[in-house]
């Protein structure tokens, strides 16, 4: 409706001037000028590179020998035959699923806890949110230090008589560690968004449900969850897309190991392009990453129609 109002406003003020530069024309010009930087940015730093990525993926580029040769679909054939790719995709999927489930789950729990009528919730809110503002690298390095075999986490566990595993060096726990470190880093953000959504649920609805005799859990499932579902959708999209971009954590904590158990797609792309100097094949992996992000986003928008309660 804002659109209509706006159009009406423009129409009404338009006949104000007889010259060529009518209000409307000037508005058009202003509009174009206002979006020019963003548009130039999108073309120069999003579209052009995307086209180039596809173009490079058809080439072999050797930096040391300074050659750039057209090889057609060679890199895509390599992608299909690359024995590392299934493992890389599995690691990527594990990381993303683990991160989204744990992050959203914990964020929701924290938000519900902080939404109780308790003293000192502000204090806890600040604590849970604080890692969001800590530099990602500082956070990751500290956890890398804590998760050493003789580090702080195992020290803490030994206080309770638990002999902790070698977190970052054993196949099963390395991925868990990377996911959990990332969850604690960013869960505060989703927590705050959930908290705002929870506070937006009208109290009358809760009271009505209580008078109907519904239990806590039923109220949460039937009223709270549906009402905050738009926020859940939005945070899950942001978290999923963000999870596909994880690089620093892998690079600092595990370097993709042990084996290739934590080699996610972006890390593999970096290895191929910048460590093995296979820029052409690296570009092919970029194309794959783009297709995955595209597919996931489309899928999530489809799910919105079915699951999300309302859109205002």
């Amino acid at each position: 409706m804002t659109l209509l109002q706006d159009r009406a406003a423009t129409a009404r003020s338009a006949p104000g001037r007889p010259s060529y530069w009518t209000m409307r024309r000037r508005d058009h010009l202003t509009g174009y000028l206002f979006i020019t930087p963003a548009l130039v940015g999108a073309v120069a730093f999003v579209f052009l590179p995307l086209v180039l990525v596809v173009w490079y993926s058809l080439h072999e580029w050797n930096v040391l020998a300074d050659t750039f040769d057209f090889v057609g679909s060679e890199n895509y054939r390599k992608l299909a035959e690359d024995p590392n790719v299934p493992g890389v995709l599995r690691a990527t999927a594990l990381f993303s699923i683990g991160l989204v489930v744990l992050n959203l789950g914990l964020a929701l729990v924290l938000a519900v806890l902080l939404n109780q009528k308790l003293r000192g919730t502000t204090f806890f809110r600040v604590l849970f949110f604080s890692p969001v503002v800590v530099s990602l690298l500082a956070w990751t390095i500290v956890w890398g230090f804590l998760l050493q075999d003789n580090g702080g986490v195992n020290g803490l566990l030994s206080l309770f008589g638990i002999d902790g595993p070698n977190w970052l060096r054993s196949g099963g726990t390395a991925m868990v560690s990377v996911v959990v470190v990332q969850v604690f880093k960013n869960v505060g953000l989703n927590m705050v968004l959930f908290l705002a959504a929870l506070q937006g649920v009208p109290q009358e609805l809760y009271e009505a449900a209580r008078t109907d005799g519904a239990g806590r859990w039923t109220v949460f499932r039937r009223i709270t969850l549906p009402l905050i579902s738009p926020t859940i959708l939005l945070t899950s999209i942001i978290t999923v897309v963000g999870s596909l971009q994880v690089f620093a954590q892998i690079s600092v904590l595990t370097q993709g190991g042990p084996g290739t158990s934590t080699t996610v797609l972006v890390y593999y792309l970096y290895q191929q392009a910048f460590q093995f100097h296979a820029f052409g094949y690296g570009s092919t992996l970029s194309v794959l990453l783009f297709l995955i992000v595209l597919a996931l986003t489309v899928l999530q928008w489809q799910m919105r129609k079915r699951w999300v309660f309302h859109e205002s």
Partner: protein, 274 residues
């Protein structure tokens, strides 16, 4: 709420605090330990040593690197605010031909992580002679995918502004640019705040890009510098690294604690609410 329930909830909250507070505590206290006893399990060092904090500056041009990160983040934040608020306003409140198509064009940036385009961007900046300069770290976040998210947030905010305000301003004879500057922008302060926080943190955290583009030590940004504290033979100097990490984290944490209300509520009450 019953007393039992209260005690239970507080207990739960305290337990949940551990993974959020313990790392920061451990980072700061361990940074005062000598490297030889860095893995001793003490909640506070037995002897406090300032040596690691001093070494941070002798091993690397850390002050310079700090400045690099800070000035890049500030320029990126200011630039993004300008670019995103203008574009967001135009897409939300001005009608012009091709608007929807152009909005879609800009919006696709949301779909493309900068990791996808790192190779061609590297080549582009390479051919412009901008590799090993700060330009890629400024231009891409300011105009590329990260600023698209900002544009989107700003547009969502401007759409909710009541049209009457603008109309009144028009009758007073204000042009578009003036309406934008004097009426829309001041009203958009919460959204601008959220965008500023997001953008600043994004730039401050950037790691893959500096690793790819920057190779001279004096041009490193903080995240990159943090990983480089090793002794002459590549043994990891945990205590120096943790001192440097503390120095990156503490100032931002202090700013955050002082302005936590604006921070959190600014983020909560924007278009991101869904």
């Amino acid at each position: 709420m019953s007393l039992k329930m209260r005690i239970f909830l507080y207990g739960l909250l305290l337990v949940l605090c551990v993974p959020f507070v313990f790392p920061t505590w451990w980072m700061i206290t361990s940074s005062f330990k000598p490297n030889a006893s860095i893995f001793a399990f003490d909640f506070a060092p037995s002897t406090w040593s300032l040596e690691p904090w001093r070494q941070v500056f002798t091993m690397q041009p850390f002050a310079q690197q700090y400045w690099n990160s800070a000035y890049i983040a500030v320029i990126v934040t200011l630039g993004t605010l300008v670019v995103a608020s203008m574009a967001g306003y135009a897409f939300a409140r001005i009608r012009f031909p091709g608007q929807n198509v152009l909005f879609l064009v800009v919006l696709t940036g949301l779909l493309i992580p900068s990791e996808v385009t790192i190779v061609p961007l590297f080549r582009m900046f390479n051919s412009l002679g901008m590799v090993d300069t700060h330009w890629p770290l400024i231009l891409v976040p300011m105009l590329g995918p990260p600023s698209v998210l900002a544009t989107f947030i700003m547009r969502q905010f401007f759409i909710t502004l009541p049209g009457e305000l603008e109309e009144a301003a028009r009758i007073d004879g204000l042009g578009r640019p003036a309406i934008f500057r004097r009426i829309a922008l001041p009203l958009a302060r919460p959204a601008l705040g959220a965008v500023a926080i997001f953008t600043f943190l994004h730039s401050w955290n950037l790691y893959l890009e500096p690793v790819v583009y920057i190779s001279s030590q004096t041009k490193y940004t903080l995240p990159q510098a943090l990983t480089q504290f090793t002794d002459a033979y590549q043994g990891q100097l945990w205590n120096v690294q943790l001192s440097a990490a503390s120095m990156t984290a503490i100032p931002v944490l202090i700013v955050f604690v002082i302005a936590q209300r604006q921070f959190i509520e600014g983020l909560a009450h924007t278009g991101l609410k869904g």
